[in-house]
Amino acid sequence: MLPDTAAGAASREIMIEVLRYRSETDLRPAWQVYRVPFTDDMSVLQGLQYIKDHLDGTLSFRWSCRMAICGSCGMMIDAEPKLACMTFLRHYYPGPLTVEPLAHFPIERDLVVSVDGFIKKIESIYPYLIPKTARRPEEGEYLQTPSQLARYESFSDCINCMLCYAACPQFGENPDFIGPGAMALLQRYNGDSRDGAQAKRMELVHTENGAWSCTAVGYCSEVCPKQVDPANAVNQNKTRSALDFFLRALDRHAHSESSAPDGGAP
């Protein structure tokens, strides 16, 4: 007779192998196996919660909304970056199912990874509207048509879950790569008709750690739970960066030929 789960009497069990790591006792991560009773409506997150509530209270993992909007529960489930709250145990039956912390990030503890690097990247791309010409409140709102919104809207859907970073092999090779999520946020602002700071953000894009670390693998867009399409954000900026590279070269050539002293309008 299997124990009751939160969803009612469980009829089946699945083996879940979790990669554990506690820095106070462990030199390196190691697998631990749990036998988890489940019903068909249970997510992997609920499986982990069952482990923590009934089998092993020391297991640590991030979670919050349980509905794929907070971005907290990203982890490698059978080696694929997924949100644990929208991945279901029944798909992996009979298992064993492996659960590891998100790839390419340092492990703090168990399934909790360090997000510091990612946060710094988000902060570095000027993640706020810098209007072309500032308006005073009396002048009213900045207006935007639905078409202007459509141009960047999907990039604003990002929930910062970092699955795209776990998916990206070039980020795995080069942790300084600004990465798909930060580029999606960058394009969210650069593509916003109300914004005027495209040139500032493009300075980051033009670098080796900007768009040019990307080799168009495309797996980031496949794993994104919100259809943000970060691959599009990065690769359309390759086109922009490349055109700018040559227009600048032509522009410099033209200026050196005229050799007028600088003092003109920007």
């Binding site: 790591y21 506690r22 820095s23 106070e24 390196r28 991560p29 694929e80 790839a103 340092p106 492990i107 703090e108 503890r109 909790v112 360090s114 639905p146 078409s147 202007q148 459509a150 141009r151 960047y152 999907s154 092999p169 795995g172 090779e173 593509g191 080799t215 168009a216 693998v217 495309g218 797996y219 867009s221 496949e222 399409d229 691959a231 599009n232 690769n235 359309q236 390759k238 086109t239």
Partner: protein, 132 residues
Amino acid sequence: MRGPRPYMRPAESLWWAHPPYLAYTLREATGVAVAGYALVLLTGLISLASGEVAYDAWLGFLKSPWSLALHLLFFIGMIAHVWSWFQIMPKTMPRFVIGGRILPQNWITAAGLVVAMVAFIVTLVVAGWMQA
């Protein structure tokens, strides 16, 4: 609560050989077919510049079973390249908004493939016309 000693898992050096990245590596490998075919043409051009005897030797190589098999592989690589090229192409383009809706990426891919098929036929027709 921050752990005192974060653990960085060692990188998997053969990541490019396993799913889901193997498909990407094979896509990139079509570049070998494209460059390889160009190299065959270049050897032909060099032999052409070296005189009739050298050029006829190159033509003889083209007729050999090795060359025919090689070009069959080039052909397969080229087709794989055409297919994958137009899958990636929309990713390098900004979103186009037409009538308030975003132009779907697979429409751009489909349009590209249609253009490629037309170009394929046009190239064959032009080559056929050149025979006259």
